[in-house]
Every structure is written in structure tokens, then in C-alpha cells.
């Protein structure tokens, strides 16, 4: 006896209502690997990381990325990279960056000369 649904599509699937097979299991890696997706909205802008797709290979990954991440709004370009190929830092090593914000010698704001110029001009006038 097949499932009779309010959804005619489901009725047409011909699903056995009596089927007692609740232990249907997907095997490991049946849904393939993941690829990280990078999306470029307009020419000149950077590609941004927007998520992943599951795909069997790079070609399919690009196809799927178009559908999942470029269905709305503007897109000019997409990249995909197999998650395996991305080498990422550990967040635990964040202390590597802890002194970086203080390195003012690398920052335009670390160079203030207005006081020196003002003092010089004043001294000139005093002459």
C-alpha cells in the first residue's frame, strides 16, 4: 500500500507505507567532500569566503557554488578550493598577533609632526 499524500508528487513517488526500514543509513562520505567557496560581487572587489558546497570534484563544485551562492544579487566571479587544500592558522596562536596593533612605526598615525612645525614657525617669528 503506497503513501497517499496531499502532495500529488509524493503520491507519484510510490512509497511503500508499510516499509519498516528505519535503519536506512547513509554511508560515510556518501555526500562527498566539501569545497570552500569564494564570491566576487563586482569587478575590482575582493573575493569573499561565503561557505561550502559538497561536491564530488572541482567542476561540480563550481556548478553547485553558482546555484547556492550566486542565486541572488550581483556576481561576476566564483572560486572554489577543496577544504583539504586550505591550510589555516590555529586560533590558539592568536598571540602571534597580539603586539601587532601597537607597532605604530608601521602606521601612518605613528608620525606626528604638527607640533614640531608649529614650534619652528613660532621660533621663526620670535627672531
Amino acid at each position: 500500500m503506497n503513501i497517499q499524500s496531499l502532495d500529488p508528487r509524493v503520491t507519484r513517488l510510490g512509497i511503500d507505507a508499510e516499509e519498516k526500514n528505519p535503519d536506512q543509513t547513509l554511508q560515510r562520505e556518501e555526500h562527498w567532500e566539501t569545497y570552500q567557496v569564494f564570491h566576487q560581487k563586482k569587478r575590482g572587489e575582493k573575493h569573499s569566503s561565503v561557505g561550502v558546497v559538497h561536491a564530488p570534484n572541482a567542476e561540480m563544485a563550481l556548478l553547485f557554488a553558482k546555484e547556492q551562492y550566486a542565486r541572488r544579487g550581483e556576481t561576476v566571479n566564483l572560486w572554489i578550493v577543496n577544504t583539504r587544500d586550505v591550510l589555516a592558522m590555529d586560533y590558539d596562536d592568536y598571540d602571534v598577533f597580539s603586539t601587532t596593533p601597537e607597532k605604530m612605526y608601521r602606521d601612518p598615525a605613528g608620525y606626528k609632526v604638527n607640533e614640531k612645525i608649529a614650534a619652528f614657525k613660532k621660533a621663526q617669528l620670535d627672531v
Binding site: 507519484r12 555526500h31 559538497h54 567542476e59 561540480m60 556548478l63 547556492q68 542565486r71
Partner: protein, 256 residues
């Protein structure tokens, strides 16, 4: 600019194209939520939406330029025998092998049609074609990628692909059924005609099947399944239309 006979033939062409796209878009929408993997479910739904969009574009030309009823009326209120879609598009979705193979066979033809139409002497069709052919290019890329990969997948997928092509080639050839006044349209540069489209299509499909490691059925031995363009359909179209129009017909005059 075009005489009455030509315009009538043009109406037949546009209606056949519109009906094809509506019915195949409708069939493909049946997979939404039921696809073989989430990412492909999403992809196939976009393709179905595009097809419905193309149908709407074609029905709109019929309505706005050629004096026919509005698109909703054309799609939801005509009788089964008024539809001139080919029989290929009305078959139920079956399993994914059938739907993918139908998708390839139909979309390669659609791309050829729309690329040709983008040079049409009939300006509204040329405009629409130029706008949408990029979408169809993607549809063909999707279909051919799947067919090639499944054709070279494992024993089961190869067998399923081959079987689906063998069983449906005659049905697909029915897309190129001639119709009254076709020659006028060719003469006037409105489109290149069914025979030319069919020839180009055969070349494309052969090439894809070869890349997929599949055998191209011998089309000379096949009897194309005609009838659709004259309003003769399989037992599948009436139930499809009944379902599609069920809510609309509760009150066609109402605003939904």
C-alpha cells in the same frame, strides 16, 4: 511587416516553444525537495524556474505583440488538445537518470533555438533570445557535466545513462516536428527551421555522448514520436494540466 500567413506561422512557433518550456519547467519543478543531494536539488530548481520564465517571456510576446490572451490564460485555461508541446516534455519525472537525459536532450535543442532566435528578423523574439540565452548556456553546461560524469562513473550509472538515451531518443526527435507555415518563417529569416536545428542538435548530442563514453543511438533506425505539435498527446498531459490548473480554476477571474 509580415503577412498574415507568416504571422500565423510565427504564432505556432512561439506557442510550441512556450508550451515546451512551460511543461518541462513544470515537470522539473517536481524535483524540488526530492533531489539526490541538496546542492543538486537547488541547481535543478533554478533551471526549472528559468524554463518557466522563458515560457512566460514567449507567452508575453504572443499576448503583447500578436493579439493572443494573457500568459496566465494561455497557460492555465487552454484545453489539452490546444497545447502544442512535444510529447517528450510531458512524461513523468521518473528517476533521476530519465530527468537528466531529458534535460540534456531538451536543453541542447533549446540553446540552438535561442541562439538562432537571437538573430531573428522578428525583433521581439530576437530581444528575448539575446536576454535569456546565457541562462540556457548554463543549463547545457549543467546537463552535459552530469551526463559526462555519470557516463564515466560506475557500471550502474553508465548502464542507466545508456539505457535512458536508447529509450528516449525517438521521443526527443519529436521536438523537431514540422508545422504549417514553417517554410515561410525560414524564408523570412525568422528562424532557421526544424531540419537545421535538428542537424545541429544531432551533432552536439553525438559529441557529448562520445565524451561521456556512451553510444549514440542510430537515429536513422528510429521513428520520431510526432503528434505534439498538432495537439496529440500521451495520457500524461491531461492529468498534468488538471493538477497544474487545479487552484487557478477554482476561480479564473479571481486575483491569486
Amino acid at each position: 511587416m509580415f503577412n498574415t500567413d507568416t504571422l500565423n506561422a510565427l504564432r505556432r512557433l512561439l506557442l510550441a516553444m512556450a508550451d515546451d518550456h512551460l511543461i518541462i519547467g513544470h515537470r522539473n519543478s517536481e524535483w524540488t525537495g526530492l533531489g539526490p543531494i541538496l546542492e543538486e536539488d537547488i541547481a535543478f530548481s533554478s533551471i526549472a524556474q528559468d524554463k518557466i520564465g522563458h515560457a512566460l517571456g514567449l507567452y508575453s510576446i504572443l499576448n503583447e505583440q500578436l493579439g493572443e490572451a494573457d500568459p496566465d490564460t494561455l497557460a492555465f485555461m487552454r484545453n489539452e488538445t490546444d497545447f502544442t508541446s512535444c510529447q517528450l516534455v510531458e512524461f513523468p519525472i521518473g528517476e533521476y537518470d530519465f530527468s537528466l537525459v531529458r534535460h540534456l536532450l531538451f536543453d541542447v535543442a533549446a540553446l540552438i533555438r535561442f541562439e538562432d532566435a537571437s538573430h531573428s528578423a522578428y525583433d521581439p523574439l530576437a530581444k528575448l533570445a539575446r536576454k535569456v540565452k546565457g541562462e540556457i548556456k548554463y543549463h547545457v553546461f549543467h546537463a552535459s557535466t552530469f551526463v559526462k560524469q555519470l557516463g564515466q562513473g560506475n557500471e550502474e550509472s553508465k548502464a542507466r545513462m545508456q539505457s535512458a538515451f536508447n529509450q528516449n531518443m525517438a521521443l526527443a526527435l519529436g521536438m523537431f516536428e514540422s508545422f504549417e507555415g514553417e517554410a515561410l518563417l525560414v524564408q523570412q529569416g525568422i528562424y532557421k527551421g526544424e531540419a537545421a536545428i535538428r542537424t545541429a542538435w544531432l551533432g552536439e548530442i553525438s559529441a557529448i555522448l562520445q565524451e561521456a563514453g556512451l553510444q549514440m543511438p542510430d537515429v536513422d533506425k528510429l521513428e520520431p514520436v510526432y503528434g505534439g505539435r498538432k495537439g496529440f498527446h500521451t495520457e500524461f498531459l491531461q492529468p498534468l494540466l488538471d493538477e497544474m490548473t487545479e487552484v487557478f480554476r477554482i476561480d479564473p477571474a479571481a486575483e491569486w
